[in-house]
Amino acid sequence: MSENKLNKEQLLLDLLKKKFILNESAVRRAKRVEVKVDPKEIIPVLLYAKENSRYISFAHMSCVDWIEDGEFEVVYILWNPEDKINLFVKTRISRDNGVLPNIDFIWRQANTYEREIREMFGIQFEGLVGRQEFILEDWEHMPPMRRDFDTAEFVKKTYFKRPGREDAKDVREFVQERTDEELPDFAKKYSRD
């Protein structure tokens, strides 16, 4: 990809850089531009992109749980139907009591995304109107898309195992028993899972 071809992308980036404090930004590839901002900058950046840069279409919104960092990363993906560019606006908030501004007055359908993220990750959006329950009904555990929600554990507690498969053997353990191999505990994390 030659430099020329990324002109539009670079232009957008320069514009945003001039206007806002960006934590990090890059032209990822053709048709993909990424900026990272603080949560309080979200609405100004999105509004600017929509009103001034023709990023009129709201393509996607997603959330990633970075439990190691104690943060959620929320990404807004916008689409400019004229320049054919996807703009990623990323922001990070704390996992505990993180709050984001509601943006469904900019794009109506963001409401759906926000409802889902609220339900699945437990992020609150200031002023979001919409039924609490979206996909999950009568859910009483922690928001399930959080990394610390262990599905295997949940299944074990919630359902019983169908009888008839107790005779299954682990190949590695089976051969170990046959040979009296003693595997030290610290090595077990490298065994096949």
Binding site: S57, F58, S62, W79, K84, R108, T112, Y113, I135
Partner: protein, 367 residues
């Protein structure tokens, strides 16, 4: 005259043919005054499941997000993995993928014929088109070993090369379907019942459509030429010759016409892909799946499915399992906020008719 408002629950058992969801309608007489969609009957937690499965295992899950057209999911999953990992895909595989995707599009449109006409009470059409869809499924069976869930497009290419005699059989099937489309026209599009039901119903405002993120045939039915295959070409679509129809109107009828044109485009694309397909490798083999790790990074990939733009946002933390796979199906927008808005003021009998024309598909709303 003031009428009493009644609450009507449509679904969750397959309203029309769109899948298990429920639309809670407030009706006055025959007119809907307020609609509220309730999903959650098909939530299988695929995105969560993928957190516990390795990169290859997850590939077998994604096709289940959409029954009528699983292939865009496989395509998106594979392309996202390839983009993060930087894995090259052989040219031949790209053509095979395009062919598979277009076959899937034809199959989906044939199923849509059934759904759309069925919700208007025209059942013969559905019998025909779903029967003819089986010939496409036969092709898939030959190609992939499965009729509905193909699990064929996977990271690095496709799973198997074309079997012997596939090209001839595919071309024969295309000829057959093309011929049948004329019969369909007579039965559906020239049918005054259908015309009367479809025209002027479920109108989407053009300006709203773009802002709201409407995609696929509903957007093109508002006169906006927008198609991922052209706007953000993937695989080899930029090397193929095809046209994306767009028509002003925004109602069920326009959307139906768009699909009627597109199915012909897809038949043409299948022929082109088969014709231009180069020889060589069909697969850039992945390493041992148990120890396959993908460098940290993220990607947002899009595929034009029969119902519009299908997006995948994928994040890798450098491990052997996906950190996050977020599926954005076209129905996510069509099926919740747009549908609620659109149904207001419509006739009860038109609810599932409109849902079918939007391509509402609950499994991709809740995944």
């Amino acid at each position: 005259m003031r009428e009493k408002t009644t609450t009507l629950y449509l679904g969750p058992q397959h309203p029309g043919i769109t899948g298990n969801m429920m639309v809670k309608l407030q009706v006055q007489g025959d007119t809907v005054v307020k609609a509220e969609t309730h999903v959650g009957y098909l939530h299988r937690g695929f995105e969560k499941l993928m957190e516990r499965r390795n990169w290859l295992q997850s590939f077998t899950i994604v096709c289940r997000i959409c029954v009528p057209e699983p292939d865009p999911n496989e395509e998106n999953y594979s392309r996202a993995v390839e983009e993060i990992e930087g894995r090259e895909v052989p040219e031949r595989a790209k053509y095979i993928r395009v062919m598979t995707l277009e076959l899937a599009r034809i199959a989906t449109y044939l199923l849509w014929y059934g759904g759309q006409s069925g919700s208007a009470g025209l059942y013969t059409m559905g019998q025909w088109s779903v029967g003819d869809r089986n010939y496409i499924l036969d092709l898939f069976e030959d190609l992939t070993g499965g009729r509905i869930y193909h699990m064929y497009i996977w990271p690095g290419g496709v799973r198997r090369d074309l079997p012997k005699g596939f090209k001839d059989k595919a071309l024969r099937t295309m000829d057959y379907i093309e011929k049948r489309l004329d019969d369909y026209d007579k039965l559906l599009f020239e049918n005054s019942i259908f015309q009367k039901r479809a025209k002027g119903v479920g109108i989407i405002d053009k300006k709203k459509a773009v802002e709201w993120g409407v995609v696929g045939p509903p957007l093109r039915g508002c006169g906006i030429k927008s198609d991922v295959r052209i706007d953000d070409p993937y695989e080899v679509y930029d090397k193929l010759d095809f046209e994306v129809p767009a028509m002003e109107g925004g109602d069920v009828w326009t959307r139906a016409l768009i699909r009627r044109f597109e199915i012909r485009q897809s038949i043409n694309l299948v022929r082109q892909a088969l014709d231009k397909m180069p020889g060589g490798e069909y697969y850039n083999k992945i390493p041992n799946p148990h120890k396959w790790t993908i460098p940290a990074g993220d990607a947002f990939v899009k595929t034009e499915s029969a119902r519009g733009e299908f997006g995948y946002y994928m994040v890798s933390d450098g491990g052997n399992k996906p950190r996050r796979v977020h599926v954005k199906g076209p129905a996510y927008v069509h099926g919740v906020s747009l549908l609620e808005n659109l149904l207001e003021g419509e006739n009860i009998a038109d609810v599932s008719f409109i849902m079918n024309s939007l391509g509402t598909c609950p499994p991709e709303i809740e995944r």
